[in-house]
């Protein structure tokens, strides 16, 4: 195998920025991650032309999986137009000539995301890549990676559950808002990256493959399609997602599109007033478009 077979004339870099050896290594790690759902596969995270912690893990996965004809969508906290998403998208466009990018969830084949899973359910032909800052859920209870590996191997997660116990004792509920520890396929517990609790149930039995890449921590793991993903909980204190009800108990709606079944971001105005809006910008646009469509039709 040639290390740089895809270099086109005039371009100093290989297609997808990474050299073919690096891509091959990442693909191998991905295969292993899919074969052992939830297991953190170590890999040699390459230097990227951006700081570690800016999504280099996710980006390496994207660049290793991308091929000509791919339609890529990049999201940052649900939005396609935030600085991080725009920069990553431009980098991908620059280094992968011939691919297309989109902001529409339905049209994309490969989605790189930070902190959110798109509202629209993904299909079997799509791959979701999540950027991960801290891959190991056990890091809060055990500082030694050696010991953590043994704990993962033996599925010894009692100390994580103690954390939940202490939460309930102190606050009468589990207070983890994001990075909710989730058990994959009945064994390994993963840190599902900083997605809100709202998104965790959507990992369960999903049609699409979800890949997690931690660039700084050099780990790749996966939730394969149609795999069990159960958030840790007690049998009598079940897991629950964020509820967006107001003081009167009504579900808050998005101020822009009026959607009442999406994850909402809270915006505080100058006067202290609060407005709520869909966190997933593409979803919000879709809802608006559909509403306009319905209005435009003759009654």
């Amino acid at each position: 195998m040639n290390a740089m077979p895809h270099t086109t004339r005039g371009s100093a870099y290989n297609f997808g920025f990474l050299d073919e050896y690096a891509k091959k290594e990442i693909r191998r790690a991905v295969l292993k991650a899919i074969a052992i759902p939830g297991y953190q596969v170590p890999y040699a995270s390459r230097e990227m032309p951006m700081g570690r912690g800016f999504g280099t893990g996710g980006l390496q996965l994207t660049l290793a999986l991308i091929g000509p004809g791919e339609v890529v969508k990049v999201i940052d906290q649900g939005a396609d137009d935030s600085v991080n998403a725009v920069n990553l998208r431009q980098f991908i466009e620059m280094t992968c000539p011939g691919i297309a990018t989109t902001t529409k969830t339905a049209e994309s084949t490969l989605i790189q995301s930070r902190h959110r899973i798109p509202e629209q359910p993904l299909t079997a032909t799509q791959i979701l890549v999540l950027q991960v800052p801290y891959p190991d859920p056990l890091v809060v209870v055990e500082p030694s990676e050696d010991k953590r590996k043994v704990m993962h191997g033996e599925a010894d997660y009692s100390r994580l559950l103690v954390k939940l116990y202490e939460d309930i004792v102190q606050f009468d509920e589990i207070t983890i808002s994001h990075r909710y520890p989730t058990r994959i396929n009945g064994h390994y517990v993963i840190d599902p990256s900083p997605i809100p609790r709202w998104d965790v149930p959507r990992l369960n039995d999903a049609a699409a493959l979800t890949l997690f890449g931690a660039g700084r921590e050099k780990k790749i793991y996966a939730v394969p399609p149609h795999t069990r993903a159960e958030p840790l909980a007690f049998s009598d204190v079940p897991f629950r997602v964020e509820d967006f009800r107001d003081a009167a108990g009504r579900r808050r709606a998005c101020a822009r599109c009026g959607c009442t079944d999406s994850f909402l971001d809270e915006f505080v105005g100058d006067a202290g007033s609060k407005t709520y809006q869909c966190s997933d910008s593409d979803w919000c646009d879709e809802q608006l478009l559909q509403a306009e469509h319905a209005q435009g039709e003759p009654a």
Binding site: D156, V162, F234
Partner: protein, 276 residues
């Protein structure tokens, strides 16, 4: 009486070890450090049996290897030689032949340990109730209400004020920390309990109450215990049988009364004479 633990030829050597280690150490050599290779023979050829509901005392001076015995049996350290069989109802477990997961299972479900230093047995950053919950969660009890109930019952049994169930153990007195440790060790109602210098460093009245508690528990639950201590008073009060260790070897074994009243070995004679 049913045997619950059978230990044969247990050894633990720290260091590289050499063929002379065993011959060059021990009570006769008056050292546990091998002069040839510098290895420490912490314990060598320790054998004993423990029966259901019995309390066995392990006594000796500091450095005699008595703590190492219980630490190897509780899987805190791997032994360098010897074997131990744990009889659990109809099943037998060859302790040192089990894989790590099985060892952890036994440790969490069937054994209990109370350390001299509560730091080792308790997590000081979670509440007293949380410490007990940890052990219950390890044994796969997943119901919050049931865990909470059980933690309170255990703390009440070990005479810890229930109003302090959600306080951090680091804010407790030494005696109370020890009670929480005992409650934690008893959480899964283990048939075998290891007590490593549980009363050392506590004042006398607290010592007496902890010892009372241990005796009560033993009579209530018929738990077999291995009690490690250098305190002859504790040995006399708690144990029926005892072994005396020096430089990693068992130098005397027998009924506690017999050892304390009529010690055979010169070292035991000195020990008893100096203490009483």
């Amino acid at each position: 009486m049913n045997r619950i633990l059978e230990v044969r030829g247990l050894s633990r050597i720290y260091g590289p070890g050499c063929p002379h280690c065993v011959d060059a150490t021990g009570p006769e050599a008056d050292t546990n450090r091998c002069p040839h290779c510098g290895s420490i023979v912490a314990i060598h050829d320790v054998s004993f049996d423990l029966f259901e509901g019995e309390i066995l005392g392990v006594m000796g001076e500091s450095g005699s290897g008595k703590s190492t015995v219980v630490k190897t049996l509780y899987f805190d350290q791997a032994p360098t030689g010897g074997e131990a069989v744990f009889f659990d109802g109809d099943t037998q477990h060859e302790l040192f032949a089990l894989n790590a997961a099985r060892q952890r299972w036994l440790r969490n479900h069937r054994f209990g340990m109370v350390y001299q230093n509560p730091n080792l047995g308790l997590n000081f950053n979670i509440s007293a109730g949380g410490n007990i919950a940890e052990r219950l969660l390890m044994s796969d009890l997943m119901d919050y209400g049931a865990i909470r109930e059980r933690a309170k019952t255990l703390l009440a049994r070990t005479e810890v004020l229930l109003s302090r169930v959600d306080d951090l153990p680091k804010h407790f007195s030494g005696g109370m920390q020890q009670r929480v440790q005992i409650a934690k060790a008893l959480a899964t109602q283990p048939p075998l309990l290891f007590l490593d210098e549980v009363t050392t460093g506590l004042d006398l009245s607290v010592q007496a109450r902890i010892l009372d508690l241990i005796l009560e528990i033993q009579q209530e639950l018929k738990t077999a215990m291995v009690v490690v201590t250098h305190d002859l008073g504790v040995i006399r009060l708690l144990t029926g049988r005892a072994i005396v260790m020096k430089y990693g070897r068992v130098i005397e074994t027998g009924l506690t009364d017999q050892i304390l009243e009529d010690p055979r070995h010169a070292y035991t004679q000195r020990l008893v004479a100096s203490a009483l």
